[in-house]
Every structure is written in structure tokens, then in C-alpha cells.
């Protein structure tokens, strides 16, 4: 196992190197001179030249890349062109908000999605099954920004139950909780639909297996067959998807965070892209990719722990 983890860690190195090349390239493939952007459109040539040297942009590309990589490895991602604050600080000041939103929404998706899929599988071909699966296919077809807007219209503007947008503190405080409900529920819809569909198909697969029939024949109570024998095995693919979704969303739920004015990494990333704040874009891209690759690794390891039949050789 340790050897497997070590080997997987090694495998992530080329991927992460590729990501760093891509992040580095962002600064150099975009049209327009980033130096002009920093110095201002009507700065004199002498200033432009000085800024260029300050940023080290006059050096050959490979030298620039290596110094970028070296600094990134030490946690130095440069400074934001807008706020002048270190990029790493900008990101980490946003990260708790994203972590909170992602965690709450994944919890919601798991807590609702798994029982829903379970019931749909056990009551297969009942109206409940059709309703649950129809709802999940519909959910997967809805643009998330529209779901968000409809939710705001209904729960904030019409009923006045919940605030329209923003974050008002941590989730364990009343106002914080009230503010997170809509964005978390919106963000949860897609994951919820995927999780309930997967749970259902996993359960249907497992319920037809011989060991389940054996358990039933032995007189194990039905709830125990479903809950203990079947569910455990049906959930293996669900774990993968939950992990991957979680990893993706930790990179910032761009659309949800934008609509609900949620001060997270996703909104930081899109604002930076739109304002051409390249160091921040680079930082966000790196962070997102690293988190995603690590979560991937974690999921693989978890997989082996859940399903001892999987051997890593």
C-alpha cells in the first residue's frame, strides 16, 4: 500500500509539471503586453523597460519558467497586479469561504442523494423511482445559474425567507447559516443528481448478486440486507464521484460564487481572468490543479480500503 501511494505520488509529478507549464504559458500567450498592463497604457518607454526588468520578463523563456517554478515551490506566487498583495495571501483569504460552501453542499448532496438512490433502487419501477430519476435527469439538464436565479426569486424575493447573496460569517452562526443555504443548495443540485443515479444503479447491480440472495435466504432481515450487505458495495463508485466532485468544487464554484457574491476562490479566479490579473490567474490555476490531483490520489487510496478485492500491482 505504501509503495502504491508512493508510486502514485510520483505519477502526479509530470501532471503537475504540465500544469505549471500551462499556468506559466497563460502569462505569455495572451494578446497584449502584460508589462503595458502593469505600467499603464500611457507610461513612457523608460518606465515600461524598467518594469520589464523588474519582473524579469526580458530573460529567455526557459529561465523565466524555472524561476517561476522555483518560486512557486517555495509558496511564492508573485503579487496581484490589482491589489499588490501576495497572490498566496489573496487565495488563502478566500479559501475558507470556498471550503465551507463546498463542504456544506457536498454534505447536502450525500445526505439527500444516497437515500434517494437507495429508495429508487429498492422500489424499482415504482412511481417513486420514476419521480426520483426523472427529477435527477432534469436537474442535470438545468443551467446552474438559472437554478440559482429561480431560487433567489422564489426564496428571497417572493417569500423573503433567505438573503439574496453574500456571506455573513461562519456557518455555525445563525446569519452565516442563513446566507449559505441558497448557494449550497444550488451547488448541491448537480452532485445530488449524479450521486442518486449512481447509488441507484450500484444498488440494482448489487441486489441481483448471489451473496445478496444468500443473505435473504438465510433469513437476514430485509433492512439489513439492503443497508449492510448491499449498500456497502454499491457505494464504492459513489465514493469516487463524491471525491472527484469535491475536488472540482474546491477549486471554486465559479458560477455559484459569482451569482451569490460568495467571497471564494472561484470568484477570485473569474475576477482575475476578466481583469487580466495574470499572477492571480496563475495562482488559482495551480491551486485548483494541485487540489484536484491530490484528491484524485486520495480517492484511489480510499477505493482500495473500501474494496479489498482491488489490488495495486
Amino acid at each position: 500500500m505504501t509503495r502504491y501511494i508512493f508510486r502514485r505520488l510520483l505519477q502526479t509529478v509530470p501532471v503537475l509539471l504540465g500544469v505549471s507549464v500551462l499556468a506559466f504559458a497563460i502569462m505569455h500567450v495572451v494578446p497584449g503586453d502584460p508589462v503595458r498592463l502593469i505600467a499603464g497604457p500611457d507610461a513612457p518607454e523608460s518606465v515600461v523597460a524598467r518594469v520589464r526588468v523588474e519582473l524579469g520578463l526580458e530573460r529567455p523563456l526557459h529561465v523565466q519558467y524555472l524561476s517561476f517554478l522555483g518560486r512557486a515551490l517555495r509558496g511564492d506566487l508573485g503579487r496581484s497586479l490589482r491589489s499588490r498583495a501576495p497572490v498566496i495571501d489573496e487565495i488563502f483569504s478566500r479559501f475558507p469561504a470556498t471550503l465551507e460552501l463546498t463542504t456544506v453542499s457536498m454534505l447536502l448532496a450525500v445526505v439527500v442523494g444516497i437515500p434517494l438512490g437507495l429508495v429508487a433502487a429498492v422500489r424499482r419501477a415504482s412511481w417513486l423511482d420514476y419521480l426520483a430519476m426523472g427529477a435527477s435527469l432534469s436537474t442535470l439538464s438545468m443551467p446552474i445559474f438559472w437554478v440559482a436565479i429561480v431560487a433567489i426569486w422564489l426564496f428571497s424575493l417572493q417569500l423573503g425567507w433567505l438573503p439574496v447573496s453574500g456571506r455573513a460569517g461562519p456557518v455555525w452562526e445563525w446569519e452565516g447559516l442563513r446566507h449559505i443555504v441558497l448557494p449550497a443548495a444550488t451547488l448541491a443540485t448537480t452532485s445530488l443528481a449524479i450521486i442518486s443515479r449512481l447509488t441507484r444503479s450500484g444498488m440494482l447491480d448489487v441486489l441481483g448478486r448471489e451473496y445478496v440472495t444468500t443473505a435473504r435466504a438465510k433469513g437476514v432481515p430485509p433492512w439489513s440486507v439492503v443497508g449492510k450487505h448491499a449498500l456497502k458495495n454499491a457505494l464504492i463508485p459513489v465514493v469516487t464521484v463524491v471525491g472527484l466532485q469535491y475536488g472540482f468544487l474546491l477549486g471554486g464554484a465559479v458560477v455559484t460564487e459569482t451569482i451569490f457574491a460568495w467571497p471564494g476562490v472561484g470568484r477570485l479566479a473569474i475576477t482575475a481572468i476578466l481583469q487580466r490579473d495574470y499572477p492571480v490567474v496563475q495562482g488559482c490555476v495551480l491551486l485548483v490543479a494541485v487540489v484536484f490531483v491530490l484528491i484524485n490520489l486520495l480517492v484511489d487510496v480510499l477505493y482500495g480500503w473500501l474494496d479489498p478485492r482491488i489490488r495495486y500491482e
Binding site: P14, V15, G18, V19, L22, I26, V29, V30, P31, A125, L137, S138, L140, S141, M142, P143, I144, F145, W146, I149, V150, I152, W153, L157, S201, L204, D205, G208, F248, G251, G252, V254, V255, T258, A269, I270, I273, L274, R276, V281, C284, V285, V288, A289, F292, V293
Partner: protein, 287 residues
């Protein structure tokens, strides 16, 4: 005995229902395409001409879905908007499919290419698709063509993965080995033997990718990175309507519904096709 007959009938019925789902999906797509083609004949009003006295009108006989802040008929704008969404969905998927399938075929067929190609795909997959698409459009500038490229690039790695796995499962089979033994060239084996046998899973996958592409393109437009005004586009219409959510929610609600219907159409088609074309998958999904 009676129970198993009934179960059998239920099963058959459900399989039929699945195919009917595909038919419904296909029907929706055909209807939308016709609407898009005949937009000028079908739409009751000009989608761009402003009519300020009628601004923010509620749905009525003259304006079935109401008007926006410039008095433009929402229904007409939705009908014309179908052009953008379908076009972006299909062309972006075509871009992603042609590049991705080619890369996947090569990676699966030539072991020496496998590592480099698939690791590159892993790098692309390590980015959230939305961020990748936003970055591409932000770099190239907002326009319909660039949205197609951005959305298409996103689907390259997934197409590569699917087609690679098809090659891996097919290339050791007797008919491929036979063709090679008969002296067929590698391109011939790849494109005349392996590719045609991979068509149905790729078709299913493409249908679902069109759905995702339409959603992603709508998100880009919503963020102001898509087709530029005054061209009607569904995502942009939802976004523009946000400012009037309190007094005129129909501005955002109806265009969003249009996106939902189009995406649902392609998803249903994909789901149904999967069961119809691939009986193995169908059995797992149904039973």
C-alpha cells in the same frame, strides 16, 4: 409464475419507455432545429428592434412570453437564440470529438504514444472545465467562434479517453489481428476496422457532450463572454433579466427554460441511444 410474467412485461415496457425517451429527445432536437432554421418565419416580432413603450410587458396575446427592458419580444428572441445554442453545442462538440477521437485512437493503438498523449490529457482534465473555457475566451476575446473553440477544447480529453478505451478493447480481437495478418496498413486498420466499430459508444457520448456544451456555452454568455449584444442568446438573456427579477421575472425564467429543454433533449437522446445501441449497458441500467 404470475410474478415473473409481470416482471418480464414490466421489463419490456421499461425498455420501450427508455427508447421512447430517446424518441422524445430526438423530437425535441428536431423541433428546435426547425425553429432555428425558420426563425424569421416563426418569430412573431423582430428580435432586435427596440420598442420602448412596450418595455417589461407581462405575457399577453401580442407578446406570449412578455417583453424585455427594451420592449423586445422574449418569444422571438428565444426562437432566434436557438440558432446560437444549437450551433455552439454541435460545432464545439465536433471540434472536441475530431481532435479527441484522433488522439485517443493514436494513443490506444501505438503504445509509444500512449503515455505522452494521455498525460497531456490528464493535465487538461486537472482544470475545472468552466475555468478552462473562461480562460480561453478571455484570452481570445468574446465571440461565437471563440466560445466554440473554448467549449470544444474542454471535451478533447474525455473524447480521447473514450476512444482510447475502445481501441484497447478492440485491437486484440481476431478481426483486427486478421486484417493486420492480411497486410492491412495501420491507418487502414485504425480508420476502416477499429473506428467504425467504435461508432455507437462515441455517438452516445457525443449526444451527451452536446448537452454539456450547450450548458457551458450558456454559462460563458451568462458571464458576458459569449455572443455580444444585441444578438439574442439564451444565457445572456437570463443574465440581462437578473436586474429586473423583482418586477419582471419572466425575463430570466423563460430563456432558462429554453436552455433546459434543449439540454434535456440531448440528454434524453443520449440516455435512450445508450440503451438502444449497447444492450450490455442497457441491461445494467434497467435491471
Amino acid at each position: 409464475m404470475a410474478g415473473s410474467t409481470r416482471a418480464f412485461a414490466m421489463n419490456e415496457w421499461r425498455r420501450f419507455a427508455r427508447h421512447r425517451l430517446a424518441l422524445i429527445g430526438l423530437g425535441v432536437i428536431v423541433a428546435l432545429s426547425l425553429l432555428a432554421l425558420a426563425a424569421r418565419q416563426v418569430a412573431p416580432h423582430d428580435p432586435i428592434q427596440q420598442d420602448l413603450p412596450h418595455a417589461l410587458a407581462k405575457p399577453s396575446a401580442e407578446f406570449p412570453l412578455g417583453t424585455d427592458q427594451f420592449g423586445r419580444c422574449i418569444l422571438s428572441r428565444i426562437v432566434f437564440g436557438a440558432r446560437q445554442s444549437l450551433l455552439v453545442g454541435v460545432i464545439a462538440t465536433a471540434i472536441g470529438a475530431s481532435a479527441g477521437i484522433l488522439l485517443g485512437l493514436l494513443a490506444g493503438y501505438f503504445p509509444r504514444l500512449d503515455g505522452p498523449v494521455m498525460r497531456t490529457m490528464d493535465v487538461l482534465l486537472a482544470f475545472p472545465s468552466i475555468l478552462l473555457a473562461i480562460a480561453v475566451v478571455a484570452a481570445l476575446g468574446p465571440s461565437l467562434g471563440n466560445v466554440m473553440i473554448a467549449v470544444g477544447v474542454r471535451s478533447i480529453p474525455s473524447f480521447a479517453r473514450v476512444s482510447r478505451s475502445m481501441v484497447l478493447s478492440l485491437k486484440e480481437l481476431d478481426f483486427v489481428r486478421g486484417a493486420l495478418a492480411l497486410g492491412a496498413s495501420h491507418p487502414r486498420v485504425l480508420f476502416r476496422h477499429i473506428l467504425p466499430n467504435s461508432v455507437s459508444p462515441l455517438l452516445v457520448f457525443s449526444s451527451m457532450q452536446v448537452a454539456t456544451a450547450i450548458l457551458l456555452a450558456a454559462i460563458l454568455s451568462f458571464l458576458g463572454l459569449g455572443v455580444q449584444p444585441p444578438t439574442p442568446e439564451w444565457g445572456k438573456m437570463v443574465s440581462d433579466g437578473r436586474a429586473y427579477l423583482m418586477e419582471a421575472p419572466h425575463l430570466s425564467l423563460f430563456p432558462g427554460l429554453a436552455i433546459f429543454v434543449a439540454v434535456m433533449g440531448f440528454n434524453c437522446l443520449g440516455d435512450g441511444l445508450r440503451d438502444a445501441l449497447d444492450p450490455r449497458v442497457g441491461r445494467v441500467a434497467v435491471d
